[in-house]
């Protein structure tokens, strides 16, 4: 009990530390679909980004995209383009913009906006089918976006 309390307190400290430089989903500024500055103020971790891209409970990007580097994960979708070479095609700022809100780069894109909290029709509480409550936040956190962007940047040909 005591331990978990202390861990929670420590986690709180860490996240509020990061919060100092974090850009809130509602305060992001796009420049032709790209986001120049890191959303978390902390460099992204490509190793964690790789996990997020493949994990059903996190980015689940492979639901729609095939990625050769993630061949250890079964079942890649074919809704969006293959992500091999994305690091050559796009700058870091562009990748950040695409992952945060692809609809600015690609009008009406089917790709979900991973760092957005407003403007939804009937937003739900994750996959429960219930209405969103006050725990509602972006699908990925600022740091998770940075991690994904760092990983995408490694996808060069």
């Amino acid at each position: 009990m005591k331990i978990s309390f202390m861990m929670a307190a420590a986690a709180g400290l860490v996240s509020s530390g990061a919060f100092a430089q974090e850009i809130a989903p509602t305060a992001v500024s796009f420049n032709e679909g790209a986001i120049e500055h890191s959303l978390s103020g902390v460099p992204g971790d490509p190793v964690n980004g790789r996990i997020i891209v493949g994990d059903k409970r996190q980015g689940n990007c492979v639901a729609c995209h095939e990625v050769t580097d993630l061949v250890d994960i079964p079942f890649h979708g074919e809704i969006g383009p293959m992500l091999d070479g994305a690091g050559d095609r796009w700058s870091e700022a562009e990748l950040r913009g695409i992952v945060a809100n692809a609809k600015i780069m690609f009008e009406d894109s089917m790709m979900p906006s991973f760092y957005k909290t407003e403007g939804f029709i009937r937003p739900g509480n994750a996959y429960t089918g219930e209405a969103a409550d006050d725990t509602f936040g972006p699908i990925l956190s600022a740091q998770q976006i940075e991690d994904v962007v760092a990983y995408l940047s490694t996808l060069t040909e």
Binding site: A63, F75, I79, P112, S113, I121, P123, G124, Y127, G129
Partner: protein, 281 residues
């Protein structure tokens, strides 16, 4: 290491195989009834799709085979239960469905036209709403819960006697405003993922979304027996599941929204054969 590569290759292969086009296959029921599983799209959606296709074409070969013969179709067990129900007297009036409608076969063709406008009541009715109207107002029996046991079983029984007949729901006249609402719901991008029915079932049928082979989301095969939950599932429950998967607040089975969506989605399948109860994974 060798083994590992093999496993990876197998995973890749199965993805590639599963992502093939809808099956080139024909559905003949019980070796006698030829089903229409693909045909020209009805005029009202011909701007978006040329051809409409039954969900049957998007399932694997074993699943397709199970639906070809009633002895292999687990959904038919529930149809038999509904047949017993049909003959069971219930409620204050001492009547069964058979008291007024005689044999189940008298219902041949009915399923193909629902949801349908009821002039006397001035409302759009799904088959389940109509059954409940008979139960509450003519039998003095309790209404069945939407998409649940007896209701979905009876819907499947009524579908089974219409199999092979073309879906033919009316969308004009008094049905039009409901149909328009259904259409609006179909194209609305809901939830945190901002996805509409059309994103998946109109723009991407034939494509894989993770492990799922996307069909056109037709409901000519409903109710469907799912191998996943080993029971019959109604179209409203399927709509609910799909909307939930967009990280949205869903509507409830039987709600006005889902009645409208059922009419609209059914109309996109006008011309396909009624197939229920069909088999899905």
């Amino acid at each position: 290491m060798r083994y590992f590569t093999g496993a990876v290759l197998a995973a890749l292969l199965s993805t590639t195989l599963a992502s093939a086009e809808p099956a080139e296959d024909t559905l003949v029921l019980n070796e006698e009834t030829q089903m229409v599983t693909r045909t020209a799209a009805p005029a009202h959606i011909s701007h978006a799709v040329d051809e409409i296709m039954s969900g049957w074409l998007f399932r694997g070969i074993e699943t397709r085979a199970m639906q070809m013969d009633d002895f292999d179709n687990p959904g038919m067990i529930f149809v038999e239960q509904a047949q017993d129900m049909w003959d069971t007297v219930e409620g204050s009036e001492g009547k069964s469905c058979a008291s007024c409608h005689e044999s189940m076969d008298s219902m041949a063709g009915v399923k193909a036209t629902y949801p349908k406008w009821n002039e006397a009541a001035g409302e759009m009715r799904t088959l389940q709403m109509q059954m409940n109207d008979c139960r509450s107002n003519r039998m003095g029996a309790e209404a069945w819960k939407y998409d649940k046991g007896p209701a979905i079983n009876m819907e499947a029984a009524l579908a089974s006697v219409s199999r092979g007949m073309p879906v033919n729901v009316a969308i004009d006249g008094p049905a039009q405003s409901t149909w328009e609402l259904g259409k609006e719901l179909y194209y609305t991008r809901t939830g945190q993922l901002e996805l509409s029915c059309a994103n998946c079932h109109e723009e991407n049928y034939g494509n894989m979304i993770r492990a799922d082979h996307l069909s056109q989301g037709q409901i000519n095969g409903f109710p469907v027996y799912r191998l996943k939950n080993t029971k019959l599932n109604g179209s409203h429950s399927r709509f609910k599941g799909c909307i939930r998967d967009t990280r949205a607040q869903t509507y409830s089975p039987g709600s006005a929204e889902f009645v409208a969506l059922e009419l609209y989605v059914a109309s996109r399948g006008n011309g396909l054969s009624v197939e229920g109860p069909s088999i899905r994974n």
